[in-house]
Point group: none
Chain length 118, copies 2
Amino acid sequence: MLDRLSELRKERKWSLQETADQLGIAKSTYAGYESGYREPSLLSLTQIAELFETTVDYLLGRTDELHRMQKRVEITTVIHTPTPSLLIDGEPVTADEIIDFIAFIRSKRDLKLEKGPA
Amino acid sequence: MLDRLSELRKERKWSLQETADQLGIAKSTYAGYESGYREPSLLSLTQIAELFETTVDYLLGRTDELHRMQKRVEITTVIHTPTPSLLIDGEPVTADEIIDFIAFIRSKRDLKLEKGPA
DNA sequence: ATAGTTTGTACTCGATACGCGTACTTTTTT
DNA sequence: AAAAAAGTACGCGTATCGAGTACAAACTAT
């Protein structure tokens, strides 16, 4: 039911202990969630989604959308999503294109600063 | 925790019994969820979201978005969202910047096409 | 190499609370 | 007014949650 937990944790290079500590629960408890041996309470589940900055629906495998687009999201976190979430003319924006974009925006913003605000 | 259940059910003019029947659980069980007396299992929770055609995150009050978010979103739809959803270096990406970005990517893609694939 | 630490896995145990049936009150229908 | 349905409340058996502990495997460091 929560098969994606392990993947999310490993992406962040966290140990079971570290993760459990951040959630304020016992290591064995969190390990139980990852292994499918136990299910968290709805409160815990919510906190887990919070910790991994994703949705409960993603944790439950109900969507492939990693991020909540309603929330503000730093663009770098979108770069390596498994399923591309941004399209231009129907074509997914690639990681490289996003990186280019960031550089592009940064240089533009720098120019603005040089000219001085207002 | 599941305060929206009652509202969703009443919108549909379903009784507790009808709803429970559709979920294959006892009336008292489902009533327990609505009153906050009990929490459903993750499986039940998923089935409830399914029944009401919404997301688990909505049921949990984690989002105000009633419907499932689209898997992929055309970037133009992000331009004029009331709350800017993309950040670079913590600063919201403005509509103008996104427009620039689209032009930027289009020209890059055109170049690639001219050179021909492979 | 080996002792010490950390990580992941497996198990027990007490306490929580899940899910059902049922009984009761309130509301609606005939 | 009687009957049916809807909503609410409670007791009970049992599943399972969560912590604690124990142990093997992997990693660090002396």
